[in-house]
């Protein structure tokens, strides 16, 4: 364990916390992982401090748990897996380093939230390809590293998007920069000639950033990340399409993305959409939910700098026969909700309280990647499992997000529950575990396994795990980075 005094010398005594309240805050989260108290919490201000912490951790074999987002946490990855851990809270590192319009890229420190970055991007005529309604305290870097799905699949060319480059310390303390940022020269020297840390691959032929993503802090600590931005449209036309079943909506979404006709594109069931759109809360929830169709597809058609109305007009002309062929009717309203209001809502973070906490106070997500042909079965299975476990199927939120330009779908079930009700809690815990097992068998790919169910996912692919262990041993030979997470 690193001595408090030593840590204080690195970050300043003010930013080292050992008090019970501070430790308690990091010892558990909304998920079902076992509660484990950290030994202390440190809050570094810059990369040099991070580097020193990692060095000290190696010397003393102290586990480190990097945290970039503010609470509440949901996945269990920020709760220590073993005792004696030091939580490295990166929320003090809140600098938006740059937003560069010509190269459509921004660089941020880990503590920067979506709420902080979005207006800065807007000022430069840019926008982010962001996840659906992240909480106010969600770190942009955290989201990128988690490979969270984004709402504009057209602009997600690769599953690692929109992440560009990172600056980090590997678990062994070595500093590293991924992608174009690696060199030559420092980042500042690169800026002088106009290098803006945009290209994610390399250095060399490896794509090191892919090793850091999805790692839940087990490979190292990121001190900054650059991310690809998109242009702010000149005009946006949002639409919703209603249907009793998701099938036709999936087919329509597939073609909208294939033709690159739409920006935002996702599907929500009535529960999830009502939770998101209800205003006021909670009074408006039931009314809205009753007005909504079982399933809603949301998309926007946008025009940019040149002849935006004509562009939108051309796309709408192409979309009309597509919808007709599927027996669907794009409109501006889903029940009592307007597509315009929904667009405004999803282009920013979730206002407080975080939308997933609104219905019951807590939420366990079951999410995975899958293909369109398996979704109907997986959704049906989940509904049946919910029933069997005593969870009301009508209470399930469902979010379907096409990913990587339509090569797959992120499917997310929201299990809302009252954390104060032991029965509800146990029901959701059981359902979550059961669902993971059953859906695994039904072709669900849990690419980002968290918490209690991670083990059963990794056990399915021993060959990949064997390689991951080799890589882990290289970058974190002392095993100090978030031990007990994913397969380590």
């Amino acid at each position: 364990m690193i001595e408090k005094e030593t840590l204080s010398k690195v970050v300043g005594a003010r930013h080292v916390s050992l008090g019970p309240a501070a430790l308690e805050a990091y010892s558990a989260d909304v998920s079902f992982v076992n509660s484990v108290r950290p030994a202390c919490v440190v809050r570094p201000k810059n990369a040099a401090e991070i580097g020193e912490i990692v060095r000290l951790a190696n010397e003393t074999r102290t586990p480190l748990v990097p945290v970039s987002s503010g609470p509440p946490h949901f996945r269990g990855d920020t709760v220590p897996g073993t005792g004696g851990a030091v939580v490295v809270d990166l929320s003090r590192m809140r600098k938006v380093v740059f937003v560069d319009r010509p190269r459509r890229v921004a660089m941020v420190e880990p503590g920067v939230t979506f709420g902080a970055l979005i207006p800065q991007a807007r000022k430069k005529g840019l926008r982010l390809n962001m996840p659906l309604l992240p909480r106010m305290t969600k770190s942009v870097v955290g989201s990128l590293l988690e490979r969270e799905p984004v709402t504009m699949p057209k602009y997600q060319w690769d599953i690692s998007d929109p992440l560009a480059c990172t600056g980090l310390f590997f678990g062994n303390g070595d500093v590293f920069r991924t992608g174009q940022a690696a060199g030559p020269g420092t980042v500042e020297e690169q800026w002088k000639v106009g290098g803006m840390q945009k290209a994610p691959y390399g250095p060399g032929t490896a794509s090191w950033h892919r090793l850091i993503q999805g790692a839940q802090g087990t490979m190292g600590i990121v001190s900054w990340a650059s991310l690809r931005c998109e242009l702010l449209p000149a005009i946006e036309e949002p639409f919703v399409v209603n249907a009793p079943e998701p099938g036709p909506l999936l087919e329509m979404a597939r073609w909208l993305i294939r033709l690159r006709a739409v920006n935002e594109c996702f599907i929500l069931n009535d529960t999830a959409l009502a939770v998101i759109g209800a205003d006021p809360w909670p009074g408006g929830y039931e009314r809205l939910r009753k007005s909504l169709p079982p399933w809603t597809l949301f998309y926007t058609v946008a025009g940019y700098e040149y002849l935006p109305e004509e562009r939108v007009g051309a796309y709408l002309e192409d979309i009309a026969p597509l919808a007709q062929r599927l027996g669907l009717q794009p409109s501006r309203t889903a029940g009592d909700l307007s597509s315009g209001d929904l667009l405004k809502t999803v282009q920013g973070p979730s206002p407080d309280p975080y939308w997933k906490l609104r219905p019951r106070g807590a939420c366990q997500d079951v999410f995975f990647l899958t293909t369109g042909d398996r979704l109907a079965d997986q959704i049906d299975r989940m509904a049946r499992l919910a029933g069997e476990t005593g969870y009301p199927a009508s209470g399930l939120g469902v979010y379907l997000q096409p990913v990587v330009q339509g090569t797959g779908y992120h499917c997310e079930f929201h299990l809302f529950y009252d954390p104060g009700d032991a029965r509800e809690r146990e029901c959701v815990r059981t359902l979550s575990s059961k669902a993971t097992r059953v859906l695994l068998d039904r072709g669900a790919f849990f690419s980002r396994p968290y918490g209690e169910t991670a083990g059963m996912v990794f056990n399915r692919d021993a060959a990949s795990v064997a390689v991951l262990h080799k890589l882990k041993n290289i970058v974190d030979p002392n095993g100090i980075m978030n031990p007990g997470k994913i397969c380590f």
């Binding site: 010509p102 190269r103 060319w157 690769d158 599953i159 590293f176 920069r177 174009q180 060199g183 030559p184 020269g185 020297e189 002088k192 000639v193 106009g194 290098g195 945009k198 290209a199 691959y201 060399g204 032929t205 490896a206 090191w208 950033h209 090793l211 999805g214 490979m219 294939r258 690159r260 940019y304 700098e305 002849l307 562009r311 051309a314 796309y315 002309e317 192409d318 990647l369 293909t371 369109g372 990587v404 330009q405 090569t407 695994l440 072709g443 790919f445 849990f446 690419s447 396994p449 996912v457 692919d461 060959a463 990949s464 064997a466 390689v467 991951l468 080799k470 290289i474 994913i486 397969c487």
Partner: protein
Amino acid sequence: MALSREIYSAFEDVVGREHISDDPAMMPAYHQVQFAAIVLPENTAEVQAVVRLCNRYTLPFQAVCTGWTGAFPKDILYIDLRRMNRIVEINEKGMYAVVEPYVITAQLQAELFRRGLHMNLKGAGSNCAAMLRGHGHLDQTTSGDDRNHLAIEWVTPAGDIVRSGAAGSTGAWFCGDGPGPSLRSILTSAVPPGVTPGVFTRAAIKLYHWPGPVQFPIQGVSPKYTLRQVPPNFMARYYSFPSVEKMWRAEIKLGENEIAFELMGFNVSMVASNITTSNEEDEKVFQQMQGEVQGPGFFVILAGNSAADFAYKKKVLDQIIRENDGRSLKSVEDPEVEGILLCQCIRVTASIRETFRAGGAFSSIPVMGQRDLTIRWAVGAGRAKEPLIAKGLIVDDGGAFFGWGVEQGHLGKTEIFCKFDPANPKAKEAVERWQKEQSERAFVERYFAMTMGPQDAVGPALANYHLWWRKVTEAIDPNHVSPEAGALV
């Protein structure tokens, strides 16, 4: 060094007598290298068995697809993947195809066209393996480098079969990342240095919408294939600009507004190569085109999903070109030439005519990444060619560089090369010096670092990636049976 009878027989037992040879008569065709033997496995199980034997006998190996150019040490086992040539799956709804190593792009693309789909083409040519990481003419809308791979099946140097992403967990090919960190971090290309040890035996690649015909309406006889008509909602043009700055402005605007299906920063030398059927004709047409262009330029293909889409894109293209004082090359407006270029730049890609037909040698500096940055560097590298051209040491291509946008201009590729007579020692020396100086300038001025040369020289300036990579290869190839080697495609 010949394999012992015992070892040879062991491999024979795996692939069959017909599919292994160590006869000296074979070797000239295999990069003029004396390999221990050449084996032709038929499937992943055979590859695994071969690799395991290599471990047992500590026999280094290297697996190759079509094997276009290459650098190999001698006395290793050459695993020729030619018999693994199946298209395993085309998933139209999932927008991916799963292929074995020896499916060439032209084959897969033709199958995809029938389904209204297409894929990224390697700039080297559609004679290249479809599954290889690469970049090419269509990157503007079909991405490039390692960003088109989904799941990959990999026989590790130790002889384990690893399937990345969903393929390892659920048997599906649509995702190659996870669970947890992605193994695609280390599953790299076939181009040394930095080749992943082991053998890629299958890969899923991303597909894209194809708004064109099931087949191009080709007419004529080789070497002059033309199109009976330019397909509806398609157009190809070449635009030149008065300056690099204006060219770049037009290029980035086209990207930001998502106009071009293909945006290829050709120079006219390359346009001429593509449309001509002999070196002599090439030279004549190049001289004529040189007189017509006003400066650097690019080649654009528009492809509309519909008439409305095409009309919009054309309008915007015209406006952007006008705003940047661009000028259309008249020769390309000729529908016959337009058709040839459509075919060359979508179905074939041009590399052989551009790069190899004239003969001689060329030395190039290619770089992927942030395009405006690399263009700035390339302008200087082009100027540095001028004295060599003046002395007649290299071919006069106007000092040109080329490149293209990737992912609607988010990324890009820039390349510049010198063509010269390798039998002329002064030319060879001058080109080597030019290459060294320009690479060093790129490094010193912080544009980029060439990672294709000696790794120890450049690695320290790039976060010591070379040392990390060595650790990776050491960890996954403990018996050192998968040495650094490979072929371009």
